[in-house]
């Protein structure tokens, strides 16, 4: 249809594009810029170019400890989410269409409740005087430290990100024709062998996207390590927020944040490289 119509249509998108460009793209560019500015005690920063922020971050052993710790937490979270999410996704993909809707709803509804509320629920369950410990003590067991430590944080993170893993896997698993598994069984392979040789390789694309998604999300989590970790678990997001809102050192905070996420992206890229050949074999 005519040229004027195409032009009118474009105006439909302009407001959205403007908002994203002005309030998303440019702020990020600005963030990168500020990471090169001098920190100051009197203002947010001094507009003088310096590499000191990056240098300071890179040379600080403490920083690297926190980075390593955060990466470790993210990796464990991702692994556990995969183990828990896979069976769920599998069941979902093989369920009747009626059940599928219900099961999907059950997976998605926690997402709608919000991280904070779910974390609070875990606090009630995991605290030293919480439900689990009450049960254990009633059975004359020892007091289990389930909160204000890495374990509590991991439980919280896994809980929040399982739905994301399930959603990522569901697409791939859905595409695996059940007849393939039946063919494998008819050829003599047991359930486990069928899984490893047929189902798992074919679901790999979903696994890869789920792993990447959950890892990146887990690395950027702030609420869960704060609440379930108390003041003892330190992750990069917590450190960054502290640097910005408590120490008011915006340049250093920006530099650290960007550096960290560059590392995360690097890890993701490395992972995708490793996965490239196995994925290609599916083409």
């Amino acid at each position: 249809m005519g040229g004027t119509e195409v032009r009118v249509r474009l105006w439909l998108a302009v407001p959205a594009l403007a908002v994203v460009t002005i309030f998303f793209v440019i702020p990020y560019l600005n963030l990168a810029l500020i990471s090169f500015y001098e920190p100051s005690h009197r203002a947010a920063y001094i507009r003088e170019f310096t590499l000191a922020n990056y240098r300071g971050t890179v040379l600080d052993r403490f920083t690297w400890q926190v980075v390593w710790h955060t990466v470790w937490i993210g990796a464990v979270t991702t692994a556990v989410t995969l183990v828990l999410g896979y069976p769920l996704s599998y069941k979902l993909s093989r369920a009747s269409s009626r059940m599928k809707g219900l099961l999907m709803m059950l997976v998605i509804s926690p997402l709608l409740v919000g991280v904070l509320i779910r974390t609070y629920g875990w606090m009630i369950i995991l605290a030293d005087t919480g439900l689990v410990n009450q049960l254990v003590q009633a059975l004359h067991g020892p007091e289990l430290p389930l909160m204000y430590n890495d374990l509590g944080v991991l439980i919280g993170l896994v809980h929040v990100y399982v739905p994301f893993m399930v959603l990522s896997l569901a697409g791939s698993l859905q595409a695996v024709d059940p007849d393939l598994e039946r063919a494998s069984r008819s050829l003599g392979a047991g359930a486990w062998r069928t899984f490893w040789r047929v189902t798992w390789p074919l679901s790999l694309p979903g696994v890869v996207s789920g792993v990447v998604l959950v890892f990146v999300l887990a690395e950027s989590s702030y609420v869960i390590p704060s609440l379930l970790g108390g003041f003892t678990v330190l992750t990069v997001p917590i450190l960054v927020i502290r640097t910005i809102t408590e120490l008011f050192n915006w340049p250093a905070g920006s530099a650290f944040a960007l550096l960290f996420f560059a590392i995360i992206l690097g890890l993701v890229w490395a992972f995708l490289e490793v996965m490239r050949r196995p994925l290609q074999r599916l083409q």
Binding site: M1, E5, R9, L10, L12, A13, P15, A16, L17, V19, V20, F23, F24, P27, Y28, N30, L31, I34, A44, L84, P87, L88, K91, G101, L106, V107, P110, L112, V113, G114, L116, I117, R118, Y120, G121, I124, I125, A127, L131, Q134, L135, H159, V162, P163, L213, V216, L217, S220, Y222, V223, S226, L227, P237, V240, I241, I244, T245, G253, A257, F261
Partner: protein, 260 residues
């Protein structure tokens, strides 16, 4: 069989904290015990009498409403453009529209804070909060409305044009009625996204403009009071409404108006 047990356990794991929170809200004692100490509404009473909580609750509702209206209007427009356009820029537009989603929320919050400061714009209060929330709601509206539009047969609009309807009339009489449910669905998702949003609010909220999640967070850092559970219960009830409403709207959609 083993699979079914495993799956049930994992589902229980997913839903446990949510159930616990609701139980805690109605619990008589000041912390949840086994067995529960009887039913009571005292924590609801405590919540409704707490000015910080009720004020932040109202603020969250107002903020979410404004952000939703904005995000729905401009997000639906963008989705319409993408669905009907053949431009080579299409990929870029789509990437831009969903970009705020995968990027870490705290980073976006920080970026916005620094940006507003650098441009002399307010860094705390209503304006930055509206912008920040609308920004993160946008991808959700865009994705949901796009999905509905993809299922919409383009020849329906063409048929309307062929029969004499101009572009706006065709949109109004044919596309909109069919897509309406999807847009409302997207709006509902946007509302709840804004209502639950923490990271952006953490950096941009100021005195008098504290949304509920921030209020709750401050509260939980130092206290264990089940008043927080009341907030949780309200959130859970809202989530249920969202799920049911979407089920009805989008469920009804695909059932009756064949947008497939």
């Amino acid at each position: 069989m083993k699979l079914r047990i495993a799956v049930t356990l994992i589902y229980a794991f997913l839903l446990a904290p949510i159930v616990i929170v609701v139980l805690a809200a109605f619990n008589g004692g000041s912390y949840l015990t086994f067995p529960p100490q009887g039913l009571s509404l005292r924590w609801f009473d405590s919540f409704f009498h707490s000015r910080p909580f009720t004020r932040s609750f109202l603020f969250s509702v107002e903020l979410a409403t404004v952000a939703t209206v904005l995000a729905t209007l401009i997000g639906s427009g963008a989705a319409l453009y993408v669905a009907r356009s053949r431009s080579r820029l299409l990929n870029l537009v789509q990437v831009l529209m969903i970009a705020p989603l995968p990027v870490p929320g705290i980073l976006t919050g920080i970026a916005l804070l620094l940006f507003f400061y650098a441009t002399g714009f307010a860094t705390k209060g209503w304006p930055p909060m509206i912008i920040g929330h609308a920004l993160i709601c946008l991808p959700y509206v865009f994705l949901v409305v796009s999905a509905v539009l993809v299922g919409l047969d383009p020849s329906l609009e063409e048929a309307a044009r062929n029969l004499g309807a101009g572009p706006f009339t065709a949109f109004r009489r044919v596309t909109l009625p069919i897509v309406k449910g999807g847009i409302i669905s997207g709006a509902i998702f946007a509302f709840i996204t804004s209502f639950d949003e923490f990271n952006i609010s953490l950096l941009l909220s100021g005195v008098g403009t504290v949304p509920l999640p921030i209020q709750l967070f401050d509260f939980l850092r130092f206290s264990f009071d089940p008043t927080a559970a009341v907030v949780g219960t309200i959130s859970i009830a809202m989530a249920l409404v969202v799920v049911l409403a979407t089920e009805r709207l989008v469920g009804l959609e695909s059932l009756y108006w064949g947008a497939r």
